[in-house]
Symmetry: C2
DNA sequence: CACACTTACTTGCAAATGCAACTATTGATT
DNA sequence: AATCAATAGTTGCATTTGCAAGTAAGTGTG
Protein backbone atom coordinates (compact mmCIF):
# COMPACT_ATOMS: atom_id res chain seq x y z
CA UNK A 1 0.00 0.00 0.00
CA UNK A 2 1.33 3.46 -0.87
CA UNK A 3 1.83 6.16 1.72
CA UNK A 4 -0.95 8.13 0.09
CA UNK A 5 -3.49 5.33 0.41
CA UNK A 6 -2.39 4.57 3.94
CA UNK A 7 -2.79 8.20 4.93
CA UNK A 8 -6.23 8.43 3.40
CA UNK A 9 -7.24 5.26 5.18
CA UNK A 10 -5.85 6.55 8.49
CA UNK A 11 -7.80 9.75 8.08
CA UNK A 12 -11.14 8.50 6.80
CA UNK A 13 -11.42 5.56 9.18
CA UNK A 14 -10.36 7.53 12.23
CA UNK A 15 -12.99 8.22 14.88
CA UNK A 16 -10.78 10.91 16.35
CA UNK A 17 -10.35 12.70 13.05
CA UNK A 18 -14.11 12.87 12.53
CA UNK A 19 -14.77 13.99 16.10
CA UNK A 20 -12.16 16.73 15.75
CA UNK A 21 -13.75 18.03 12.58
CA UNK A 22 -17.23 17.99 14.03
CA UNK A 23 -15.92 19.60 17.20
CA UNK A 24 -14.24 22.34 15.20
CA UNK A 25 -17.43 23.11 13.31
CA UNK A 26 -19.40 23.13 16.55
CA UNK A 27 -16.90 25.50 18.07
CA UNK A 28 -17.15 27.94 15.19
CA UNK A 29 -20.94 27.90 15.40
CA UNK A 30 -20.88 28.49 19.14
CA UNK A 31 -18.34 31.30 18.76
CA UNK A 32 -20.53 33.00 16.19
CA UNK A 33 -23.66 32.79 18.32
CA UNK A 34 -21.96 33.64 21.62
CA UNK A 35 -20.04 36.51 20.06
CA UNK A 36 -23.35 38.37 19.70
CA UNK A 37 -23.47 38.46 23.50
CA UNK A 38 -19.79 39.20 24.00
CA UNK A 39 -18.96 35.73 25.28
CA UNK A 40 -16.23 33.28 24.28
CA UNK A 41 -16.77 29.53 24.47
CA UNK A 42 -14.77 29.10 27.70
CA UNK A 43 -16.65 31.99 29.27
CA UNK A 44 -19.91 30.35 28.21
CA UNK A 45 -18.83 27.05 29.77
CA UNK A 46 -18.13 28.81 33.05
CA UNK A 47 -21.45 30.65 32.93
CA UNK A 48 -23.26 27.33 32.47
CA UNK A 49 -21.39 25.80 35.39
CA UNK A 50 -22.16 28.70 37.70
CA UNK A 51 -25.82 28.86 36.60
CA UNK A 52 -26.06 25.18 37.46
CA UNK A 53 -24.43 25.62 40.83
CA UNK A 54 -23.91 28.98 42.45
CA UNK A 55 -21.10 29.53 44.91
CA UNK A 56 -18.50 27.10 43.63
CA UNK A 57 -14.85 28.03 44.00
CA UNK A 58 -12.74 28.64 40.91
CA UNK A 59 -10.90 25.37 41.47
CA UNK A 60 -14.21 23.47 41.54
CA UNK A 61 -15.32 25.11 38.32
CA UNK A 62 -12.03 24.17 36.73
CA UNK A 63 -12.37 20.54 37.76
CA UNK A 64 -15.92 20.28 36.50
CA UNK A 65 -14.90 21.36 33.04
CA UNK A 66 -11.27 20.25 32.84
CA UNK A 67 -9.94 23.78 32.48
CA UNK A 68 -6.63 25.02 33.90
CA UNK A 69 -6.80 27.41 36.85
CA UNK A 70 -5.30 30.36 35.01
CA UNK A 71 -7.95 30.13 32.28
CA UNK A 72 -10.70 30.21 34.90
CA UNK A 73 -9.02 33.14 36.57
CA UNK A 74 -8.87 35.20 33.42
CA UNK A 75 -12.27 34.21 32.10
CA UNK A 76 -13.86 35.27 35.39
CA UNK A 77 -11.95 38.57 35.21
CA UNK A 78 -13.83 39.26 31.98
CA UNK A 79 -17.15 37.96 33.23
CA UNK A 80 -16.83 40.19 36.28
CA UNK A 81 -15.97 43.17 34.07
CA UNK A 82 -19.06 42.59 31.97
CA UNK A 83 -21.12 42.18 35.13
CA UNK A 84 -22.36 38.61 34.64
CA UNK A 85 -20.59 37.03 37.61
CA UNK A 86 -19.04 38.18 40.83
CA UNK A 87 -16.37 36.90 43.19
CA UNK A 88 -17.19 36.84 46.88
CA UNK A 89 -14.97 35.93 49.81
CA UNK A 90 -15.12 32.24 50.69
CA UNK A 91 -16.83 31.66 54.04
CA UNK A 92 -14.05 29.55 55.55
CA UNK A 93 -10.93 30.03 53.41
CA UNK A 94 -9.34 33.39 52.88
CA UNK A 95 -7.54 32.42 49.69
CA UNK A 96 -10.54 30.99 47.82
CA UNK A 97 -13.43 32.84 46.24
CA UNK A 98 -16.94 31.68 45.65
CA UNK A 99 -18.39 32.58 42.28
CA UNK A 100 -21.95 33.85 41.91
CA UNK A 101 -24.22 34.96 39.11
CA UNK A 102 -25.40 38.55 39.13
CA UNK A 103 -28.99 39.35 38.11
CA UNK A 104 -27.67 40.10 34.60
CA UNK A 105 -25.98 36.69 34.59
CA UNK A 106 -29.22 34.99 35.61
CA UNK A 107 -31.05 36.82 32.86
CA UNK A 108 -28.61 35.51 30.28
CA UNK A 109 -29.41 31.90 31.20
CA UNK A 110 -32.37 31.36 28.86
CA UNK A 111 -30.43 32.89 25.96
CA UNK A 112 -27.58 30.47 26.55
CA UNK A 113 -29.94 27.48 26.75
CA UNK A 114 -31.46 28.63 23.47
CA UNK A 115 -28.10 28.77 21.75
CA UNK A 116 -27.15 25.30 22.97
CA UNK A 117 -30.51 24.00 21.82
CA UNK A 118 -30.19 25.50 18.34
CA UNK A 119 -26.65 24.34 17.76
CA UNK A 120 -27.51 20.85 18.97
CA UNK A 121 -30.59 20.69 16.79
CA UNK A 122 -28.49 21.56 13.75
CA UNK A 123 -25.86 19.02 14.74
CA UNK A 124 -28.37 16.23 15.21
CA UNK A 125 -30.40 17.12 12.13
CA UNK A 126 -29.00 14.31 9.94
CA UNK A 127 -29.97 11.66 12.52
CA UNK A 128 -33.32 10.01 13.24
CA UNK A 129 -34.71 10.06 16.77
CA UNK A 130 -33.56 6.48 17.22
CA UNK A 131 -30.06 7.27 15.98
CA UNK A 132 -29.77 10.24 18.30
CA UNK A 133 -30.41 8.05 21.30
CA UNK A 134 -27.83 5.53 20.15
CA UNK A 135 -25.32 8.27 19.43
CA UNK A 136 -25.81 9.91 22.82
CA UNK A 137 -25.40 6.57 24.57
CA UNK A 138 -22.14 5.85 22.73
CA UNK A 139 -20.79 9.33 23.48
CA UNK A 140 -21.60 8.85 27.14
CA UNK A 141 -19.60 5.61 27.17
CA UNK A 142 -16.57 7.33 25.72
CA UNK A 143 -16.76 10.49 27.78
CA UNK B 1 -37.94 23.68 36.83
CA UNK B 2 -35.18 25.73 38.42
CA UNK B 3 -32.42 27.36 36.39
CA UNK B 4 -29.97 24.97 37.98
CA UNK B 5 -31.84 21.87 36.88
CA UNK B 6 -32.45 23.29 33.45
CA UNK B 7 -28.76 24.03 33.04
CA UNK B 8 -27.74 20.58 34.15
CA UNK B 9 -30.22 19.06 31.75
CA UNK B 10 -28.98 21.26 28.91
CA UNK B 11 -25.44 20.20 29.60
CA UNK B 12 -25.83 16.49 30.24
CA UNK B 13 -28.25 15.83 27.40
CA UNK B 14 -26.30 17.84 24.87
CA UNK B 15 -24.58 15.96 22.08
CA UNK B 16 -22.47 19.00 21.33
CA UNK B 17 -21.31 19.37 24.91
CA UNK B 18 -20.12 15.77 24.98
CA UNK B 19 -18.43 16.02 21.61
CA UNK B 20 -16.64 19.17 22.72
CA UNK B 21 -15.34 17.49 25.84
CA UNK B 22 -14.18 14.40 23.98
CA UNK B 23 -12.64 16.60 21.31
CA UNK B 24 -10.76 18.60 23.92
CA UNK B 25 -9.34 15.46 25.49
CA UNK B 26 -8.38 14.12 22.10
CA UNK B 27 -6.65 17.38 21.30
CA UNK B 28 -4.61 17.33 24.48
CA UNK B 29 -3.54 13.75 23.80
CA UNK B 30 -2.52 14.57 20.24
CA UNK B 31 -0.65 17.67 21.39
CA UNK B 32 1.28 15.62 23.91
CA UNK B 33 2.25 12.94 21.40
CA UNK B 34 2.97 15.32 18.51
CA UNK B 35 4.96 17.64 20.74
CA UNK B 36 7.64 14.95 21.01
CA UNK B 37 8.21 15.47 17.29
CA UNK B 38 7.94 19.24 17.37
CA UNK B 39 4.56 19.32 15.65
CA UNK B 40 1.33 21.11 16.56
CA UNK B 41 -2.07 19.64 15.71
CA UNK B 42 -2.66 21.97 12.73
CA UNK B 43 0.83 21.19 11.43
CA UNK B 44 0.06 17.50 11.78
CA UNK B 45 -3.19 17.91 9.85
CA UNK B 46 -1.30 19.58 7.01
CA UNK B 47 1.37 16.88 7.02
CA UNK B 48 -1.34 14.22 6.71
CA UNK B 49 -2.97 16.08 3.83
CA UNK B 50 0.30 16.49 1.94
CA UNK B 51 1.35 12.88 2.61
CA UNK B 52 -1.97 11.83 1.14
CA UNK B 53 -1.60 14.02 -1.90
CA UNK B 54 1.64 15.65 -2.87
CA UNK B 55 1.68 18.87 -4.86
CA UNK B 56 -1.53 20.51 -3.67
CA UNK B 57 -1.64 24.29 -3.44
CA UNK B 58 -2.03 25.96 -0.06
CA UNK B 59 -5.59 26.94 -0.91
CA UNK B 60 -6.45 23.32 -1.69
CA UNK B 61 -4.96 22.16 1.58
CA UNK B 62 -6.97 24.79 3.39
CA UNK B 63 -10.22 23.67 1.77
CA UNK B 64 -9.58 20.03 2.52
CA UNK B 65 -9.31 20.74 6.23
CA UNK B 66 -11.40 23.86 6.63
CA UNK B 67 -8.47 26.00 7.74
CA UNK B 68 -8.04 29.70 6.94
CA UNK B 69 -5.35 30.67 4.43
CA UNK B 70 -3.20 32.56 6.94
CA UNK B 71 -3.02 29.52 9.21
CA UNK B 72 -1.84 27.36 6.33
CA UNK B 73 0.68 29.98 5.39
CA UNK B 74 2.23 30.15 8.82
CA UNK B 75 2.06 26.44 9.54
CA UNK B 76 3.91 25.74 6.30
CA UNK B 77 6.50 28.37 7.25
CA UNK B 78 7.29 26.24 10.30
CA UNK B 79 7.15 22.94 8.44
CA UNK B 80 9.56 24.32 5.87
CA UNK B 81 11.88 25.55 8.62
CA UNK B 82 11.94 22.12 10.20
CA UNK B 83 12.52 20.57 6.79
CA UNK B 84 9.40 18.40 6.54
CA UNK B 85 7.76 20.14 3.58
CA UNK B 86 8.81 22.43 0.78
CA UNK B 87 7.12 25.02 -1.41
CA UNK B 88 7.74 24.81 -5.14
CA UNK B 89 6.60 27.16 -7.89
CA UNK B 90 3.24 26.20 -9.35
CA UNK B 91 3.59 24.95 -12.95
CA UNK B 92 0.99 27.30 -14.44
CA UNK B 93 0.28 30.04 -11.89
CA UNK B 94 2.97 32.38 -10.68
CA UNK B 95 1.17 33.34 -7.49
CA UNK B 96 0.43 29.80 -6.22
CA UNK B 97 2.83 27.27 -4.71
CA UNK B 98 2.63 23.53 -4.73
CA UNK B 99 3.49 21.83 -1.45
CA UNK B 100 5.65 18.72 -1.32
CA UNK B 101 7.01 16.39 1.31
CA UNK B 102 10.77 16.22 1.75
CA UNK B 103 12.42 12.85 2.42
CA UNK B 104 12.34 13.74 6.14
CA UNK B 105 8.63 14.45 5.80
CA UNK B 106 8.03 11.09 4.14
CA UNK B 107 9.96 9.37 6.91
CA UNK B 108 7.71 10.92 9.52
CA UNK B 109 4.61 9.36 7.93
CA UNK B 110 4.66 6.03 9.76
CA UNK B 111 5.22 7.79 13.09
CA UNK B 112 2.17 9.96 12.49
CA UNK B 113 0.04 6.96 11.52
CA UNK B 114 1.18 5.28 14.72
CA UNK B 115 0.13 8.22 16.84
CA UNK B 116 -3.30 8.41 15.21
CA UNK B 117 -3.71 4.67 15.69
CA UNK B 118 -2.78 4.81 19.39
CA UNK B 119 -4.97 7.77 20.20
CA UNK B 120 -7.91 6.22 18.36
CA UNK B 121 -7.43 2.90 20.09
CA UNK B 122 -7.58 4.61 23.45
CA UNK B 123 -10.62 6.60 22.41
CA UNK B 124 -12.50 3.54 21.17
CA UNK B 125 -11.44 1.35 24.09
CA UNK B 126 -14.78 1.58 25.95
CA UNK B 127 -16.69 0.38 22.87
CA UNK B 128 -17.20 -3.13 21.49
CA UNK B 129 -16.31 -3.86 17.85
CA UNK B 130 -19.99 -3.65 16.97
CA UNK B 131 -20.42 -0.32 18.75
CA UNK B 132 -17.39 1.14 17.00
CA UNK B 133 -18.92 0.45 13.63
CA UNK B 134 -22.19 2.03 14.66
CA UNK B 135 -20.41 5.02 16.13
CA UNK B 136 -18.29 5.56 13.01
CA UNK B 137 -21.38 5.34 10.80
CA UNK B 138 -23.21 7.93 12.88
CA UNK B 139 -20.21 10.27 12.89
CA UNK B 140 -19.98 9.97 9.13
CA UNK B 141 -23.62 11.00 8.81
CA UNK B 142 -23.05 14.12 10.88
CA UNK B 143 -19.72 15.10 9.38
C1' DC C 1 5.60 26.68 66.88
C1' DA C 2 8.86 26.12 63.07
C1' DC C 3 9.32 23.65 58.98
C1' DA C 4 8.33 22.02 54.57
C1' DC C 5 4.34 20.90 51.52
C1' DT C 6 0.11 21.57 49.26
C1' DT C 7 -3.63 24.42 47.59
C1' DA C 8 -6.03 28.61 45.45
C1' DC C 9 -5.45 31.89 42.68
C1' DT C 10 -2.83 35.45 39.82
C1' DT C 11 0.44 37.27 36.51
C1' DG C 12 4.65 38.11 33.26
C1' DC C 13 6.14 36.70 29.16
C1' DA C 14 6.50 34.21 24.87
C1' DA C 15 4.14 31.85 21.37
C1' DA C 16 -0.18 30.97 18.83
C1' DT C 17 -4.35 32.84 16.79
C1' DG C 18 -7.64 35.81 14.29
C1' DC C 19 -8.74 39.86 11.76
C1' DA C 20 -8.01 43.02 8.43
C1' DA C 21 -5.08 45.01 5.28
C1' DC C 22 -1.55 44.21 1.97
C1' DT C 23 1.04 42.58 -2.55
C1' DA C 24 1.00 40.10 -6.61
C1' DT C 25 -1.39 37.55 -10.01
C1' DT C 26 -5.01 35.98 -12.77
C1' DG C 27 -9.59 36.17 -14.84
C1' DA C 28 -13.50 38.56 -16.76
C1' DT C 29 -15.74 42.60 -19.13
C1' DT C 30 -16.05 46.01 -22.28
C1' DA D 1 -5.59 46.75 -24.10
C1' DA D 2 -7.60 48.94 -19.88
C1' DT D 3 -10.24 48.30 -16.03
C1' DC D 4 -12.39 45.91 -12.28
C1' DA D 5 -13.08 41.94 -9.60
C1' DA D 6 -11.53 37.63 -7.73
C1' DT D 7 -7.83 34.59 -6.15
C1' DA D 8 -3.28 33.06 -3.74
C1' DG D 9 -0.63 34.00 -0.40
C1' DT D 10 1.63 36.98 3.29
C1' DT D 11 2.01 40.05 7.25
C1' DG D 12 1.16 43.74 11.10
C1' DC D 13 -1.22 44.17 15.10
C1' DA D 14 -4.16 43.12 18.92
C1' DT D 15 -6.08 39.46 21.55
C1' DT D 16 -5.84 34.88 23.48
C1' DT D 17 -3.43 31.08 25.21
C1' DG D 18 -0.06 28.28 27.80
C1' DC D 19 3.76 27.76 30.71
C1' DA D 20 6.23 28.74 34.53
C1' DA D 21 6.89 31.45 38.32
C1' DG D 22 4.82 34.23 41.81
C1' DT D 23 1.93 35.38 46.15
C1' DA D 24 -0.86 34.23 49.84
C1' DA D 25 -3.08 31.01 52.72
C1' DG D 26 -3.99 26.54 54.60
C1' DT D 27 -2.18 21.64 56.16
C1' DG D 28 0.68 18.37 58.27
C1' DT D 29 4.83 16.78 60.97
C1' DG D 30 8.29 16.61 64.22
Amino acid sequence: MTISQQTKRTRTSSLGWMIQRIGGRLNRQMEARLGEHGLSVPQFAIMMTVLERDGLTQAEIGQSYGMPAYAISRAIDHLEDTGLLERRPHPTSRRAHTIHTTPAGQDLGPTLFGIVKDVNAELAAPLSAEERKTFAALLRKIL
